[in-house]
Amino acid sequence: MAKLPKEITLEVPKSGVIIHNPTLCRGCGICELACSAYHKGECSSFLSRIHINAEDLDLDFPAVVCAQCNSPSCYFACPLKDSALCIDNETGARYINEDECTGCGECAEACPLPNPAIWQTSNGEFFKCDLCKGRKGGPICIEVCPRNALTFVARGK
């Protein structure tokens, strides 16, 4: 058996995580609008770091939201880990430092979710949920959700 590279065996600090409850969600999209407005100064479902893939005629409201994996494949896949794909000291969020990211896309490729929670803008920049790093009051999506369909589970809980 090939020996794993040393760093992969390193313990990565756990992260808090946003949990989406599809039975409470009604697909209003307010989380997406707040997320993109907060991060990008623009309201856009496509610039949001949380996606509600509403199936309007079936009244199903599944979401794509980063699981902030305990063993984060995106982090391990990043050739510039800790400078491009980083771990936030405070929340443990696995986030992309857009100043350092070269746009190789390895992280998105590595995401194990059925619908990867790492996206790319039309200019080629990759983006993902950073749990609103540094925002007083935590993730904005949770604050604005009118139906309490989003909850934040802090790390270690």
């Binding site: 409470l24 009604r26 209003c28 999209g29 307010i30 609008l33 707040a34 993109s36 407005a37 907060y38 990008k40 100064g41 623009e42 309201c43 856009s44 479902s45 496509f46 610039l47 893939n53 509403a54 199936e55 309007d56 005629l57 079936d58 009244l59 039309s122 904005i140 604050e143 604005v144 009118p146 139906r147 309490n148």
Partner: protein
Amino acid sequence: MGKMHGWAGKILKVDLTTRRIETEDTAKYVPQYVGGKGIATRIAWEELKPGTGPYDAENILMFFNGPFTGTLAPTSGRGVVCGVSARTYPTPWFTYGTMGGDWAAELKFAGFDGVIVKGISERPAYLWVNDGKAQIKDADRLWGLDTFCTQRMLKAAHGEQSQVLCIGPAGENLVRWASIQHKLSNAIGDAGLGAVMGAKKLKAIAILGTGGVKIARPAGFIRACMEITDLISSGPTVTPVRDSRGRPPGPNTLPCSFGCPMGCGKMFKNIPAGIEVGSGTRNMMAHCEDGVFISGDNKTNYPPKDIAKDYKGDMYTRETKGFGDKIGTEIQALCEGLGISSAFNLNLYPWFWQCIENGVTELNSYKLEPDNPRFWYDLVKKIAYREGIGDIFAEDLIRASDKLNLPDILKKAACFQFPLWGQPDHRLGRAYESQPSPIWIHTSLHWAIDSRDPMASHHQSSFVSMWFPLHHEGKAGSPDVDFNKLMATYAKTFGTAAGMEPGFENIDDKTKLTVWLDNRAQIKDSLLLCDWCFPRILRGFNSKEELKAAEDYCGDIDAEAKMLSPLTGLKITSADLGKAGDRIRNLDRALHIRNYDRSRELDSSGEWVCEYPEKSDGTKWDKSLFNKILDSYYNNRGWDKKTGRPTRAKLEELGLKDVADKLASIGKLP
């Protein structure tokens, strides 16, 4: 001009005859016409020639969003559709309808503030709008399908996240009051513009956009939106104390629109079959009157016994029957699928009963059985396909009663149900819900000058009726509201409470408030925001205790401006918005004067309905009192009393000199 904030910056222009697709800059129209209905009315003024009929190639059908659409502004997901409607009465004319859903935001994300459709396609077509581009595509396979199937087919072709507006068989068959449908039950219903799409052979518009809405000052905009979301968190102004529509809304509720924190729609999911399987969906959203097949409606109960003596024997009491969840949602789904407004039985149910009680048990050999759900099941299909009796009712009740050989009392009753502009009574306090004075005075003036049921303007006037404790004798309204505090709220907000005092005193103050309400309604349909929630004259409360402890009920009438300024980066005040609303109303008026000879006489044509007493407090007017009130209203509008036409001074004050010049050149300026 650089990239716009709030607006997408482009308007799509499609000619189905020549298959030409162009774009136009939005900058030409904003901020003076705001967006939505405002821009559409300006374009209609410029392009809609007198004599254009609803089914003519020259009729322009316009689908617009507004600067707030697709943003965090609460309740901002709505869109507006304008054009010459076949439904309006006595003549088809330019009107508008707004609807919720996701298409309006999707259109913004696709890079457009609106779509203007002209011409007639040779074959069934649909419009595919995607990221700054559009294509007219073949819809042969979609023609004839119900609205659910059409949406599923187009989502299969263009992606689940694409949004589809479409017509059903009723629109294709030119049912005058056919709706334009979207999702489960979002619709342009009363305006009846579905037949215009049908005449244009435009089955659907499918939209997908990956862009966004740029914000001039994001931090300020987010802060304003969150504050105002909090302000409206108790729900629509329908009731003083929060119900399941507020935050968090009840579990079996749905917001009608993208970006809305409310839950005004009742959600039905996987409902078992009632009569027949095959209404196209087992899910449904019932919002307000569209759910009447499910729960019935006691607001059609008119008039109460003590007032009934004045109804001269031609009106009587009858609650509209509901058929329960299973059968009711199925009939509603059938209507939404075929593309007609499911609220129609609100007026037809009591009218059919009136027919029966007057000895007319059959219409053209079609037996009337309004208590039998199968009767409605059959009638709805007959209307959508224009078969037999359905061909007559496809013309709507008011035109149908002209065609049918009926006793006068039933013709009169039809007029009572559809008092003006071929639209069902709503918020007039007679055939439908109660509206104690002075609320019905405001609402009937909104009716008098509008081109349809003036939903946006009278909702903000009439929801106060739910707050009126003194006039409902405990039947409706809120016993917990202190009337003096309510009046204090109006005094603080408008400088005087006289506009909301019951009775006919201080007419001038009342009509001033009517003007304010109507101007702000124009803005509401242009921004666009929910007419249940804005403008926020009153604030809602989370509990009765909170309501009792409050010193007044003041909301925040500057809420719209507080969000619009940081969004667009322009300094826009409530006064600016009020003036823009005035501009849009006057332009609409000028258009109706130029194209349809709109006059004082026409404005007065529904006055007779309010010679009947209002159903909760018995107040009414006679012709001379009505004329006095209309004089005052025209005066406060800056319109000539004799003709009802805007004066040159008024039009120039609003920056509409070109409009004044045009009206002068055809001899229609006072």
